[in-house]
Symmetry: D2
Subunit: 142 residues, 4 copies
């Protein structure tokens, strides 16, 4: 499946639809099999001790599933999260970016399912694992 | 089960352990059966259109499960979320606070399970439904 | 919302579409707010020690969400489970039926979300808690 | 991490602790990275049309997570499922075995988290995706 947006196009689209989180996330790599995104470590989402908070990890998983879905269906601003299951497995490393590896498991007519693993940058042991469902609005040409 | 903290004690404890979200949440009511909390609607967590974002709803569900658990076991700063399943069912009303109704389903030796329903203030149709598991650290006297 | 089937109609429909589990489940009560179903304790789904297995509890939660959804939309054999999150919280009592309390949280055009609590008959402490999503096929008149 | 049981030892242990499902599942391969199990297609868990039911897929995911955990911690009959999130994404192929690919994401002192993908034999598109948490009982030597 060919992707419908390049990384710069996707980054511009994210800034447009989610201006309130502009600069919070970055896209490292994006192809048919794997999307790699990062959450820039900074004060706004840190717990005491310098580790990234659960809600900030949820945000990263959520935006990664959104980007992975948009890459396949094109810009659909009305696509919304309907479900997320997330397991928090380890404490993230202090002061490190969190990296998301997102893989789309299903793109259907009306929903997508994406698996996301989160890591502290430089580590191979996942800090969290999420599965997200996005509802895709009916499309004229679909 | 008698609760171990009053609302003012719990509010002070939240401000102490999560200073970065001070003022974001309020506790409306807290007894053995039900905890009611609110997310104050404000610019920082709004999506375009004035509705509360998914990550902000996750944050409210997460903090409500934390407060409901702390109320039963007392201050245990090392208590951490290990799992959250959340269904987003309706778009929250614009410019309204989001209200959480949290009920503890289990308090075990090593984990708690809490059910949380989220509503736009003034509405009876839930905007989201979450189940959260917290891991409780081993306690000397437990 | 008026229900579209009575208990005897629903029981007959279940026997028709799921003949392989005929006799495994019963419907105790069904109204707009709450569906009560039971899993008859018997050898086929017991763990050593006489307690009901996790898969059997999953089956009960799944069929309860199905029945609660059908009661609202009418017979739609193509309605399928797309997601289940289930927390197993306590060991069921040996040799007791398991009772499900199902509440529909959302009936949308294309999906339903149902909350299910499971109890050992005669106990108020839930043995499991589930949230299930069913995908509803497009309907001509919807 | 070296595994503590061989495939024949594990198969014998499964037959011992779950005699009621003896013959239902098989272990195809088991190493540190990946466990491959199968659910033998047969009448008892089929939906009309010859496809494997949701509860049968849940059972396979559950036993695969159990086996993957046991392989790491050794025989611990008191290890119990505490949570499962499962997404059903495609209809399984009729009359085909369902294959599970299980990967342990975390083995902690008190819990394990396992990711499981399910496929119809011979297909690369997953029919379901599950994440399971098992609670591990306190061990003397741990």
């Amino acid at each position: 499946m060919t992707l419908k947006l390049t990384i710069p196009e996707m980054a511009a689209y994210l800034d447009e639809v989610f201006p309130q989180v502009a600069g919070m996330f970055g896209i490292d790599a994006m192809d048919e099999d794997l999307l790699v995104m990062r959450l820039h470590a900074n004060e706004s989402h840190l717990r005491p001790g310098g580790t990234v908070s659960g809600p900030a990890m949820f945000s990263l998983a959520d935006v990664a599933a959104y980007v992975a879905t948009m890459a396949r269906i094109g810009r659909e601003a009305l696509t919304v999260t309907t479900h997320c299951s997330i397991d928090f497995m380890r404490k993230p490393e202090a002061e490190r970016d969190v990296i998301a590896h997102a893989r789309v498991l299903k793109i259907g007519r009306s929903l997508s399912v994406t698996d996301v693993l989160l890591f502290s940058e430089g580590s191979n042991a996942p800090v969290a694992h999420a599965s997200l469902t996005y509802a895709i609005p009916p499309r004229k040409s679909a």
